[in-house]
């Protein structure tokens, strides 16, 4: 996994949801660490699309995913 992607994903989430970086816990899903709901996940997808300039669909990244898992999905789409 590209560490740069992981950092960027985390930054997007922190900025969008107005949470502290330490609230985004390693290895936990966004739902577990931040209580992200499905509507917030729509916003997360849109923000990630803007950040990385690629199409990311809600079926590809879900609230059950961790930052690391989301970064992996993005890396695989960039290839």
């Amino acid at each position: 996994m590209n560490m740069d992607t992981k950092t960027k994903v985390k930054d997007v989430i922190v900025k969008l949801l107005k949470v502290k970086p330490e609230e985004v816990r390693e290895g936990l899903s966004l739902e577990q660490s931040l209580g992200v709901d499905s509507t917030e996940m729509v916003e997360v997808c849109i923000a990630l699309q803007k950040e990385f300039g690629i199409s990311i669909y809600e079926k590809e990244v879900a609230k059950q995913h961790s930052v690391e898992q989301i970064a992996k999905v993005i890396d695989s789409k960039k290839k």
Binding site: L17, K18, V19, T39, V42, E43, I46, Q49
Partner: protein, 412 residues
């Protein structure tokens, strides 16, 4: 059936102050909070004055994460609800959540959120619109946010009935409490109409004052030189419960709501019927519901639309019901100090009346210098507050298309 419904706590979020201490200090001093709207360039609007709240965030415990998802009218409702529950000494987590209700009213919904997202839709396309738009702008959003915040699950309702919305919400709430469907209710209303499009709609409606040069003197109901009301933003929420429940938990009631009446004019899509017959019927309905004779009323909180038909019909209705006594019973429209909070106006008027009862002081109606001869014959409390013992009062709230609502109150 329960008859007396107690007000055991309340929260005010208004241009004259947040929380009752600051609010009442301004009201009893007769201080106007009407100013030019400077949040955005409103100077091209025919009317660009209003009652604004500038320090909402100072009183808020709402997270910035949630604030992105809600309109200011829900934010105001959350703050007013928190203050009201604290005032009533209620810890919701220790209550049966199925037995708590929420009855709230507003006229417009959350326009700031709605119009901002519509702008984004036309500029950025579909993906520019927040997925929260659907749940942020609609009139029942504040009810939803308050229920989520506290986990409240009981019988609840949002009333949309123009400027009479919150008074009608309180009226419905007391009926539900009387039927013992819930233990207590958060009742009231909220409105945030000073967004660019919201204010434009108020302007095109044609009922608001264009006296931009003298904001503090603009709202002058029953005056010969009236030219409409002034819009304001805010919320008023109260805790309603049976007299028995209040006594059981050792909480003194600030006041009791004892009667409610509502009618429709059935005449015009905007204006009130000038003869005031249906408002008179609503007043009688509230008095009969409470078991009061007109002579026992110590104070009337007026709607004060500051439109020709609104004012003369209100005066005609009072004269019809109160007869000879109409010239004696003190009347006022304290909203001349902070603006007409549209759907929230009735609830805030009730709370001002409760404070007036507590302090034995009638708040003034501002700017009534030259009484319209068609509105003469009432005992207006002009310019400054007047000491007066208030045991019983009525509060009148009206909306466009001839909606009339009246509540009867008694001191706690």
């Amino acid at each position: 059936m329960i008859k007396k419904i107690a007000i055991t706590g309340f929260g005010i979020v208004a241009p004259s102050g947040i929380d009752k201490k600051a609010f009442w200090a301004n009201i009893k001093a007769g201080r106007s909070a009407i100013k030019k709207i400077e949040r955005y360039d409103s100077s091209l609007y025919p009317s660009h004055i209003g009652g604004q709240i500038h320090d909402l965030d100072v009183y808020s415990h709402v997270s910035s994460r949630l604030l992105q998802k809600i309109d200011p009218f829900s934010h105001m409702a959350l703050i007013a609800s928190e203050i009201a529950l604290k005032d009533a000494g209620i810890d919701v987590s220790k209550e049966n959540l199925n037995n708590i209700g929420i009855f709230m009213g507003n006229a417009l919904g959350g326009w700031l959120y709605g119009e901002t997202e519509l702008r984004d839709l036309y500029i950025e396309g579909r993906e520019g619109v927040s997925p929260y738009m659907a749940s942020a702008w609609f009139p029942a959003a504040p009810q939803g946010q308050v229920s989520i915040c506290y986990g409240i699950k009981g019988y609840s309702k949002t009333i949309v009935s123009d400027r009479a919305s919150s008074l009608m919400a309180i009226g419905h709430a007391i009926k539900i409490l009387a039927k013992e469907k819930v233990e207590f209710i958060l009742a009231g209303g909220m409105e945030a109409p000073l967004s660019p499009y919201g204010l434009l709609c108020c302007n095109t409606n044609g009922q608001i004052s264009k006296n931009n040069e003298h904001p503090e003197e603009a709202y002058r109901p029953f005056d010969k030189h009236r030219d409409g009301f002034v819009v304001g933003e805010g919320a008023g929420i109260m805790i309603l419960e049976s007299e028995e429940r209040a006594k059981k938990r050792g909480k003194k009631a600030f006041a009791y709501i004892t009667g409610y009446g509502t009618t429709c004019d059935g005449v015009d899509r905007i204006k009130s019927d000038p003869n005031g017959k249906q408002l008179a019927r609503a007043i009688r309905m509230a008095l009969d519901d409470a078991g009061y004779s007109p002579k026992t009323i110590d104070y009337i909180s007026l709607d004060g639309a500051a439109t020709l038909e609104g004012d003369i019909s209100e005066v005609a209705a009072i004269k019809e019901v109160f007869g000879k006594y109409a010239k004696d019973v003190p009347v006022s429209a304290p909203k001349t100090m902070f603006g007409n909070l549209l759907g929230a106006s009735g609830a805030v008027d009730v709370l001002v009346t409760v404070l007036a009862m507590e302090h034995s002081l009638i708040p003034p109606i501002l700017n009534l210098k030259d009484i319209d001869p068609k509105c003469a014959g009432l005992n207006y409390c002009r310019d400054r507050a007047k000491e007066h013992n208030i045991r019983r009062a009525i509060v009148i709230s009206r909306g466009r298309a001839g909606i009339n609502a009246v509540l009867a109150l008694e001191k706690g």
